[in-house]
Symmetry: C2
C-alpha cells in the first residue's frame, strides 16, 4: 500500500512526521515546509485510494468520492492540517485522517455513494503563524476574501501573500476558493478540554460552539517612586487591575457553570520592581453558549470596572477586539449521532464546545455538526496532547456510520 | 571664568549638557561617554577653583580644599554623577554641584578651613547600567570589593570590568579606593517624592533612610485552554496573584502611613489572551523606617500569601532578593541643620527618606546626614524632574552654613 496508513492510530503517527519534533510535538504552521509536505502526502494518499484530488487557490486540499449522480448533494468532511507552534499530533489532523479512512471504508464496502463525499484538509485554522484564524474554512464559506490578508505579516515580517505564493498558491491560481455546493459539513475533533474524560464518555455530541467576547482593558495611573510616595497619594493602575480581575472572577461565580472567563495576558509599564506602574493592560476572554448571558455578564463587568477606576481615580478604557456569536450545530444530525452511539454502545455526552472550530463557519450556511473524542487530562496545543486508540476508533466509527446513513439510500436514513 | 558656572541654577544646566537629550532628560550611565565627559568637566572646574583634584581607581572624583593642619579630620561632601536612562538634571548632580559651590564660597570668604573639605562625585549610585547600585560609595566604605563585579554585565553583554577599563579606570589603576580617613559625610539631594512640596517646606532634614525588603513571588498553576476548562477545574496562578496583591494592599492600610509597599513588576507565562496562565511572577517592595515594623508586615504577608496559595492549590515560592536595614542619620548634625533653617527663616520638615542614597553607606562608619530639597510633583527619574532655583539656593545655603560651622573654629560651632 506504498507506506500509507491503514488504521487511525497509524494515520496519526504517519502525519505527525511532517513537522514532528523530538519531544513528540508537531509544528506545522500555514505554508511552512512541513505544512507543504503534509498536504502533498495527504494528496498522494487520497489519489492512491482513488479519490478525485485537488487543491484550491489558497491550499485547501479536497479528495472527492463522486456520487452515482454527479448533480447529487455534497457532504464535506474534515478539519485542518495546520498546528500551533509545538502543538500536538491530534488537533485538526484527527478530523482530516478520520474523514479519509471513513470515506475509503464506505467506498470499499458499500461502493459508489448516492451523494458526493468529499474530504477537506483545511489549510489553516489556528491563527498561529498569522493573526488570522480559520483562513481555510473562512475562504470556502465566503466569510473572508483576499482583502483580509492585505497588510498581514508573520512574526518574521513575511507577508501572508508572499508565504502563500512561495508555497505554490495565491491569487493567480486558477481554482475558485468559494464553494456554494456544500450541503452538509461534518467535523471530528479532539475535545481539547477534560469534560469527556472526567465523565468517562467516548463521544461528545456538540450542541453549540460557544460565543466569545475578548476585551483589552487599559488602565493609566501615575508612575512614581516606590519608596517616596505614600500609599494615600498613589494612583496605581496595578492596584486597579487586580481589583478588577478579582471582581471579574467573583462575578463569574454568580453565573452558571457554562460561563468561563480568563485573564491570559497582562502587561505592566514600566515593569520595574521599585517603580509604581504608570499603565497596566490586560485581556479578558469571556465565553458562553447563550448570547444573552454573554452580553449580560459583559455589561456587568464593564460597569464594575468603571466603578473601580472611578473610585481609584484611574483612566480606563475597555476595548472589544474579538467577538464571535454562539453557533448552533444541526439538531437532526445530532439525533442521528446519538442513535448511532446508543446502537454501538458508545457512551456519549451532549456538550458545548468552548473552543472555536471550522464547523462554526459552515453552520450558518448548511446543516453542520462537530463530534468530539476525549483529550487526556484536557491537554491540547502541547506535545502532551493524547487520545487513546480506543477513543480514536470510537470517533471514526461514529463518523463512518453517520456518513453511511447520510450517503447511501439503501441505509434508509438519508438526512439530506 | 572659562565658561564654568557661578550659581547653582547655572551649574545644573551646565552639567546636564553631558548626556542631555532633546526632551530635557539626561542619560549618563556609568562609564559611558557622557559620564566620562561629565567627570572630566567637573575635574577641570574644581582644578580651576584651586582644589586638589584626583580620581580613584573606579572613577570616583574628589576635589580637596586642604586644612591648615593636613592631619585634621576630613569632611566628605557630595553625591553621584550617574543618572538612570532618561533621568533628570537634578538627581545626584545637585549634591555634587552644591558641594563644589559651598566649598568654593567658604574658601573665598573664610579662607583655609580647620578641617579638610572634600567634594566627591561618586561614579555610580543608580544601578541603572549594571545590576549593582552605590558602586562608588560602596567601594569607598569597603562594603564592596572588585569581587562584586565579577560576572556582572550590562544589557549589551559588556562586562563591568571592560566598561571600567575602557573609561580609563580599573584594577590596575594605582589609586587606592577604600578610604578610612572620612570623619563626616554630608549629602544634599532632591527629595524624589512630594512630601516637601505638599507641606510647603524648602528643606527636609532626614532622620532615617528607610529599610527595604524586596521579594520575588513565583506562583505555578496549570495552563489550560481558556474556552474548554470550566472555572471549577482551574488552578489559575493569575487568580492567585491578584488575590495576593489585593491582600497586600489591604494589609498595608492596617499599618502606619510610613509603610509603603509596591508591586512594580509582573510577568505572566505564556501571556496569551486565550490561555489560562501556567505561571505568574511578581515583585513586592516593602519599606519602613523601623526594622521591627518591616519584619512584622513581611511575616504577615508571607502567611497570607501561603494561605491563598494553599486554598487555590497553587505552588508558591517567596524569595527575598534585596534587603536593606533602616539607617539613622546623625542627630547632632540634624540639630545643627534645624537651627540653621530657623536662623535663615527656611521652612523645614523632619522626615524619612523612602529612597536609598550614598549617605546610607557612610552612616555606619561616621557621622552622616542627608538634606532634601523639594521635587516638583514628586517626580524623579524623569526628564520632568524639577526643583525651583529658590529651593536649590535654600539647600545650598543650608549646606554652606553647615560646613562653615563644622570646618571653621572661629564659628564656635565645630561639631567634629
Amino acid at each position: 500500500m506504498g507506506g500509507f496508513p491503514t488504521t487511525i492510530g497509524e494515520a496519526i503517527e504517519w502525519l505527525s512526521a511532517y513537522g514532528g519534533e523530538a519531544d513528540g510535538g508537531v509544528t506545522r504552521t500555514l505554508y511552512s515546509k512541513p505544512w507543504q509536505e503534509a498536504q502533498h502526502a495527504l494528496k498522494e494518499w487520497m489519489e492512491q485510494l482513488g479519490l478525485a484530488v485537488k487543491f484550491d487557490a489558497i491550499g485547501n486540499l479536497f479528495g472527492r468520492l463522486v456520487a452515482r449522480d454527479a448533480h447529487a448533494p455534497t457532504i464535506l468532511i474534515g478539519s485542518h492540517v495546520d498546528t500551533v507552534k509545538s502543538g500536538g499530533k491530534y488537533d485538526g489532523a484527527y478530523g482530516v485522517l478520520a474523514a479519509i479512512l471513513a470515506i475509503d471504508q464506505l467506498n470499499q464496502k458499500d461502493g459508489q455513494p448516492d451523494v458526493n463525499l468529499e474530504v477537506v484538509s483545511f489549510c489553516e485554522e489556528e491563527g498561529s503563524r498569522f493573526p488570522l484564524a480559520c483562513w481555510g474554512s473562512g475562504m470556502i464559506t465566503g466569510v473572508y476574501s483576499f482583502q483580509n490578508i492585505v497588510g498581514v505579516n508573520d512574526s518574521d515580517g513575511i507577508t501572508f501573500a508572499d508565504a502563500m505564493t512561495q508555497a505554490g498558491f495565491g491569487t493567480t491560481h486558477p481554482a475558485e476558493v468559494r464553494r456554494k455546493d456544500i450541503d452538509t459539513f461534518l467535523e471530528l475533533h479532539i475535545e481539547q478540554g477534560p469534560s469527556l474524560e472526567k465523565q468517562g464518555k467516548s463521544i461528545g455530541v456538540v450542541q453549540t460552539i460557544v460565543g466569545q467576547k475578548r476585551y483589552r482593558i487599559m488602565i493609566k495611573g501615575e508612575s512614581n517612586h516606590a519608596g517616596t510616595t505614600m500609599m494615600k497619594w498613589r494612583r496605581d493602575p496595578l492596584h486597579g487591575a487586580v481589583s478588577m480581575i478579582e471582581a471579574l472572577y467573583e462575578m463569574a461565580k454568580e453565573f452558571d457553570e457554562d460561563l468561563v472567563t480568563t485573564v491570559g495576558q497582562v502587561s505592566v509599564e514600566p515593569n520595574v520592581p521599585n517603580v509604581i506602574p504608570s499603565q497596566v493592560v490586560f485581556t479578558v476572554d469571556v465565553r458562553h453558549p447563550t448570547e444573552s448571558v454573554l452580553v449580560s455578564f459583559c455589561e456587568g463587568i464593564s460597569r464594575r470596572f468603571r466603578e473601580i477606576s472611578t473610585q481609584r481615580e484611574l483612566d480606563y478604557e475597555m476595548e472589544l477586539w474579538h467577538e464571535v456569536a454562539p453557533v448552533q450545530m444541526d439538531r437532526n444530525l445530532n439525533e442521528v449521532i446519538q442513535t448511532i452511539c446508543t446502537n454501538h454502545h458508545l457512551p456519549y455526552q451532549l456538550m458545548n464546545s468552548g473552543a472555536g472550530h471550522d464547523a462554526q463557519l459552515f453552520a450558518p450556511i448548511c446543516p453542520t455538526t462537530i463530534v468530539f473524542v476525549p483529550s487526556q487530562a484536557g491537554i491540547s496545543h502541547s506535545p502532551l496532547e493524547f487520545t487513546s486508540s480506543k477513543d480514536l476508533e470510537a470517533g471514526l466509527c461514529v463518523l463512518t456510520e453517520l456518513v453511511k446513513q447520510l450517503a447511501y439510500k439503501k441505509q434508509g436514513g438519508v438526512v439530506l
